[in-house]
Amino acid sequence: MGMTIGEKILARACGKDVVKPGEIITAKVDLCMSNDGTTHLNIDIFEKKLKGEKVFDPEKVIFIVDHNVPAESPKTAEVHKKMRNFAQKHHVSFYEGAGVCHQIMIEDYVVPGQLIIAADSHTCSYGGLGAFGTGVGCTDLTSIMHSGETWLMVPETLNFVMEGNFRQGVYARDLILKIIGDIGADGATYKIMEFSGSAVKNLTIDDRVVLCNMAVEAGAKSGLVAADERVIEYVKSRGRHEMHLFVSDEDAVYEQSYAYNLADIEPMVAIPHNVDNVVPVTEIGEVKIDQAFIGSCNNGRIEELRVAAQILQGKKIAPYVKLLISPASKEVYLQALEEGLVDIFMESGAMVLNANCSVCWGGCQGVIGEGETLISTGTRNFKGRAGHPNSSVYLASAATVAASALVGKITDPRGMIG
């Protein structure tokens, strides 16, 4: 009986030839990462409860300040200071203000075949490069920082077989919203979502990350796409040459398979307050917006910024509407500057923010007030996610968000891009 990519990565991580769903394994972790959303608690657990003296391998532990950066309060500044001091003392890699943690990991660390565990639910993003990423809380992360190991249950795999090409104005973001709408917010709980089929070769790395990143919004433990030449070339171009390339066996066992033709996908919108509450933009009716946001670990990369710029070029956003744009990393920001995208954004009336989690997580920057409506490329539209408990968040692609910012209400981007 064959194995899926996810099973093969976990087998390698626990030093076995074969693992089966349901089996509990002790796995060696290739990399662990923690951000300012929880690291102050990790440090307390590490020092006070675990009485840890050193991390298992400073080169494999990464701290990234990305959630509330720059600090918006003295209390947050203390949290950042605590991280900075710990990182210095233990010589772990440390980033502050360089971008959203997952984008930094993709740019600087991830290679196919790794097991990466981080204290952030969107760690599943790394499946876009063929690595098994999964999110945990700070107690698990602290124990990994200390020992380099963790226990995991091998999950079942769901197979999403994709064929065809997207039509103009439709993106990977619309596909993943459609899939989550179809299977539900707990449709993949505890499972791996593998994305496969003839369409994969035409998907860029950004597209693949977009798909895997939101696997957790269907409850999944991880999202995965088999690494191909495109990924190998990218990883090598970043100076990383050691990797483990796995593909699912032909006789691999999937719990269930789903078929999607990309040509059938339309621009989709997740309406408040759940990510699986999804409708085609054509059915949304009249929804006026107060604010629009382009950014986050899902949708703040250069390809999405180019799409937004194409729509915004030479136009002005609607009166009394705010458009906030936060590139996913410093590198993406510099690229956007070089390509003239930042000029286009600012001339359209947008505010361009530093690279950070920003509006997506509602912790510091660009929050919305009571009764206000936001359309966002962020990852979640939970009640109160972007500010006041009585506010509304709609999720869509960068194209739909840019088009909506121009019109002042949720708008189908097809016809505005050409």
Partner: protein, 176 residues
């Protein structure tokens, strides 16, 4: 006013019999509802706990008594990996969470901090808010003392039970 948790009593009683009032929630209660993002970077859980369930019930933290039990529908604790979510529940004195199903990371985090989580699909419709429930964690049984109905929860894997019995993952590792 937030009540202070008698830690010693709570730790001793955690694995065994638990009794408390039920606080009922629906499906897909995400961790942003349990503790909103803007409170995650407060210095410690004691400062965070007053905001527990703020988007759903501003008064929750002041109404709950030590030992009370959360009863929820499907997919409790979905969304963010924030361990602050189970931590604030534990800090307020919640003795267990009973749900039809849990999101993966919340479930694991709760076990890791020694907060019992029980999966039971049948009990939800037979409990009203504020009914008193009694849980026998070893047996995996839950009784509604008002109606005297008894339910059985899904048994946790032995490995997971050991972590819970130790009082959490760090305690389990320290013992080892």
């Amino acid at each position: 006013m937030i009540k202070t948790l008698p830690v010693v009593l709570y730790e001793r009683e955690m694995i065994g019999m638990m009794k408390g009032k039920a606080w009922k929630f629906g499906n897909d209660v995400d961790t942003d509802q349990i503790l909103p993002s803007q409170y995650l970077l407060l210095p410690n859980v004691e400062e965070m706990k007053q905001y527990t369930f703020e988007p759903l019930d501003k008064e929750f933290a002041s109404k709950i008594d030590v030992g009370d039990i959360i009863v929820a529908g499907e997919n409790f604790g979905s969304g963010s990996s924030r361990e602050q979510a189970p931590l604030v529940l534990k800090a307020l004195g919640v003795s267990a969470v009973v749900a039809k199903s849990f999101a993966r990371i919340f479930f694991r985090n709760a076990i890791n901090i020694g907060l019992p989580v029980l999966i039971c699909k049948e009990i939800y419709d037979s409990v009203d808010n504020q009914d008193t429930l009694e849980i026998d964690l070893q047996q995996g049984s839950i009784r509604n003392l008002k109606t005297n109905d008894k339910f059985t929860s899904t048994k946790l894997p032995a490995h997971v039970m050991k972590i819970l019995e130790a009082g959490g993952l760090i305690e389990f590792l320290n013992k080892k």
